[in-house]
């Protein structure tokens, strides 16, 4: 049996290498702007991601205004509508969720939670952020370019993406989108290698892999997946750029466009879809696994109970990560690929439901016989469980190939993926921000504002996306700028659309309150102290809060136990920090 339990007598290996000399900032610029400190980089990543995420949020309001009240807003014509949905989707998936989970939480938490002073390659880590920022700027430049951003849908399917019937297809839009993705992937690779090597090589003495918090397991596995999956998107983007600029025909068969024979020919549009989804499906889990990991730690800490079935949880993360590479074509059941593939991909897809279900069971079993504190992080964790279970279960509809046939390309799909990879991970992000903000800033976020934010966001988001499934079941296709006249659509469907739009605006407004809270609490928030949640993991045991450059003062922490020693029988407190040898009082003052 692997020792996941506390065992103070476990041998701690001696330090074999001396501490590396850190790069120390010499000026304000290198301390706060061109910083090589993972904590600063994390904040830069997070702020940039939230800023561009706000743009995507506004885009969602605009498209919901159009869907809820078609014809009322003249400036949202078909071209604009498709540009809005495309940018909204791409920003949310890549530039917000991926960047925030890996670049934001990954950078902040990996060195602190494994007991390292910093990432192992701080310079590459810094470059990673600046390339990410450049990618965001190139992407946003699409809004100002001639012809506007691309309106090809976030999946960017060719040939449509590079033809004139699509906004941005023959203008700058698609070029900027593909270039931005390429920059993002280069930047991510630099950061991603850092995260992997730091977890493998930078852990404190005693921090065995099976003592790591699940947050780190989630981020670590997701990063490995991203390093393997993003190259597929990278080559697809390069090939499409060539098709568009150099006249190659990777994805271009013989085409008659608006009555005119194009010169290209012989390429395969469906090849792009395979490349895209070979990246795209792991991408779902690149977002989900960090969320799984973080929410495990939130639930455990705020229920004052060890995570139930830790080893099973670790293995579930690893198995989900591996399986997610052989399920991609479930996005392509009606794409026209050989239909026999459906048998294989439906089977793998439904198998992945088993480890995922085990994770859900273990979260709720952690609540069982716990001591549940209904703090804001716990509330968001509960909201995650509800929305993730809901969204995961509708995945069993879409994954089951024949059921997907009537539902694919309808609003059911939109509702499903928003619930499972939009709402659910964002619930975790909010929970995580309420949880770690005190460590990052030294102050608590305001509780009253947080409560309003939580209830409006959770219930509002559920009211947006739960009924939306039924519009899809009815048969309403997605990506329709205007449904127009359709005999099978009853008047009540339009009423429901209007309701969803009103809820979307409401939920959006609540996010403004959240941003205000982030700023307000910087100065006015209650002082947090070093370990306000009485948590076990290393980041709460730093000598200073916020942690100083180098994280640990003179001496690196030594780890004696797993991350989940809550409510251990016989212990003085209801938590034992990972760096504490015995059961008694803390060896080191937690507060700064």
């Amino acid at each position: 049996m692997v020792d996941i339990r506390s065992d103070a007598s476990a041998a701690i290996p001696p330090a074999e290498v001396e501490d590396v000399e850190l790069y120390h900032p010499r000026s304000w610029w290198t301390k706060y702007v061109f910083s090589q400190d993972a904590k600063i980089i994390a904040i830069q990543y997070s702020m940039t991601a939230i800023a561009i995420g706000m743009v995507a949020l506004v885009l969602s309001w605009l498209m919901r205004l159009q869907l809820g009240f078609p014809g009322t807003f003249d400036f949202i014509d078909a071209d604009h509508y498709y540009q809005f949905i495309t940018m909204h989707g791409m920003i949310m998936v890549i530039y917000l969720l991926t960047a925030l989970f890996l670049g934001g939480f990954g950078n902040y938490l990996i060195p602190l939670m494994v007991g390292a002073r910093d990432m192992v390659f701080p310079y590459a880590n810094m470059l990673s952020y600046w390339l990410y920022l450049l990618a965001v700027l190139v992407l946003a430049a699409g809004f100002f370019a001639p012809g506007g951003p691309t309106g090809a849908g976030w999946t960017l399917y060719p040939p449509q993406a590079i033809l004139s019937g699509t906004p941005g297809g023959k203008d700058w839009g698609i070029l900027l989108m593909l270039s931005s993705l390429i920059l993002f992937i280069i930047g991510f690779t630099m950061g991603g290698l850092n995260y992997v090597v730091t977890v493998l090589q930078g852990r404190a003495r005693g921090m065995t892999l099976m003592r790591m918090p699940l947050t780190i397991w989630g981020i670590f596995t997701a990063t490995i997946m991203a390093l393997l999956a993003f190259p597929a998107l990278f080559v697809a983007a390069v090939m499409m750029l060539f098709d568009r600029l150099l006249g190659t025909s990777f994805f271009m068969p013989a085409i008659v466009e608006m009555g005119e024979q194009l010169k290209q020919g012989g390429g395969s549009p469906i090849l792009f879809q395979h490349l895209f989804w070979f990246f795209g499906h792991p991408e779902v889990y690149i977002v989900a696994l960090p969320a799984f990991g973080i929410v495990s730690d939130l639930i455990s800490t705020h229920a004052r109970k060890n995570i139930f079935g830790y080893r099973m949880m670790v293995w579930a993360i690893v198995i989900i990560g591996a399986l997610s590479f052989i399920v991609w074509a479930h996005h392509m059941y009606v794409s026209g690929m050989n239909p026999k593939f459906g048998f294989f991909f439906a089977t793998t897809t439904l198998i992945i439901a088993v480890p995922t279900a085990i994770k859900v069971y273990n979260w709720v079993l952690t609540l069982w016989r716990g001591d549940i504190h209904l703090s804001l992080p716990m509330l968001f964790a509960l909201a995650f469980i509800v929305t993730f279970v809901n969204g995961g279960l509708t995945g069993l509809f879409l994954g089951n190939v024949v059921v997907d046939v009537p539902l694919s390309d309808t609003m059911f799909v939109v509702a499903h993926f928003h619930m499972v990879m939009g709402v659910a991970p964002i619930m975790v992000i909010f929970g995580a921000i309420y949880h770690w903000y005190p460590k990052v800033t030294g102050r608590m976020l305001n509780e009253a504002m947080g409560q309003i934010h939580f209830w409006v966001t959770f219930l509002g988001a559920y009211l947006i996306f739960f009924p939306m499934h039924y519009l899809g079941l009815l048969g309403i296709p997605r990506r329709y700028h205007d449904l127009g006249e359709a005999a099978f659509v009853p008047e009540s469907a339009h009423t429901l659309n209007a309701f969803i739009s009103v809820m979307a605006l409401t939920v959006g407004a609540a996010q403004i309150l959240f941003l205000f809270n982030l700023v307000w609490s910087l100065k006015k928030g209650r002082e947090a102290g070093g370990n306000p949640w009485r948590a076990t993991t290393l980041e709460w045991q730093t000598p200073q809060t916020p942690p100083a450059h180098g994280n640990w003062g003179k001496e690196l922490p030594v780890v004696y136990r797993w991350a989940y020693d809550y409510s251990v029988p016989g212990a003085a407190e209801d938590f034992i920090p990972q760096n504490q040898p015995g059961l008694g009082g803390p060896t080191r003052e937690a507060a700064s």
């Binding site: 339990r5 449509q160 019937g165 024979q261 239909p339 509800v386 024949v402």
Partner: protein, 279 residues
């Protein structure tokens, strides 16, 4: 306890919404009621799991919420429970997958004696081609598209000369007769989608895709495009009419063959050139 109450409302409310929702699938008009049945099975299984998990969470919050002096239990693992839960989940998943794959096998196996109809998508129009008296569709090629030959039918293939060509008009199908829809596109991706038929499939330039179904009731149905195909995507509409035998034959007589189309086109160009030369 507000949290407990709201969790219960979410679980019960979702079920009530499901039962009383006015938004439900359109009355089916094809043989794919197997698909509807599989969806119903899936709704039952997943609905049960959703309600069970959310109510369990609500119960935990009610029963184990923090009170002064409380302390959580310490139980890192419980192998028996974990194995048991994993097994029950696997059975539930298999119960959904098995009928799904069974019906998928039917979906991809075209029965013998199925007539073929070709659907051609272009931005933003549906066209159709039916085999003529010989019962065979001629070959086609996007490169052959040109004057008078909007679908790129191969003029050198005798099988294609009697094909019936319907450019942008209605498609009529015979009720009760299985039909294989051969799908082509000449520009970008499209997707032939009639909600009442339940079946749909993308159309890809450069290759031919298909699906099959049997229309089970007469009536007029709307064709929508279900794969984003550019700015005009929502306006890409068409009509399928499912006829009885007599109506179908009447309609069939009114359609033009490929040869007739070519001849008409030639006549037009001759008239056009003669009028222009006489000026």
């Amino acid at each position: 306890m507000a949290v407990v109450l709201i969790l219960v409302i979410v679980a019960v409310g979702s079920v009530v919404f499901h039962l009383f929702s006015p938004w439900w699938w359109t009355p089916i008009a094809s043989n794919w009621n197997y698909i509807d049945n599989t969806i119903i099975i899936t709704f039952w299984i997943t609905g049960f799991v959703f309600v069970a998990v959310v109510l369990f969470v609500a119960y935990c919050v009610l029963r184990f919420r923090h009170r002064p002096g409380n302390r959580a239990a310490y139980e890192p693992e419980n192998k028996k429970l974990e194995v048991w839960l994993a097994s029950v989940t696997s059975i539930g998943v298999a119960a959904m997958l098995a009928p799904g794959l069974f019906v998928w096998h039917q979906f991809v196996t075209v029965p013998p004696g199925t007539t073929e109809v070709e659907v051609v998508g272009q931005q933003w129009l549906w066209s159709f081609r039916l085999p003529g008296a010989d019962g065979k569709l001629g070959t086609s090629d996007t490169r052959a598209i040109g004057d008078g030959n909007a679908l790129g039918v191969n003029p050198n293939d005798t099988n294609g000369l009697d094909d019936l060509i319907i450019e942008g008009g209605e498609l009529h199908l015979l009720v009760g007769k299985p039909v294989k829809m051969l799908l082509r596109s000449v520009d970008v991706l499209h997707d032939f989608y009639v909600p009442e038929f339940r079946a749909k499939m993308d159309m890809i330039p450069g290759m031919e895709t298909y699906f099959w179904f049997t229309p089970t009731r007469t009536g007029t149905f709307e064709v929508l495009c279900a794969e984003l195909c550019g700015t005009g995507h929502p306006q890409m509409r068409g009509t399928v009419v499912v006829d009885n035998e007599a109506d179908y034959q009447t309609w069939l007589q009114e359609q033009q063959t490929f040869t007739q189309l070519l001849a008409a086109r030639q006549e037009q160009t001759t008239i056009a050139s003669s009028t222009s030369s006489s000026k």
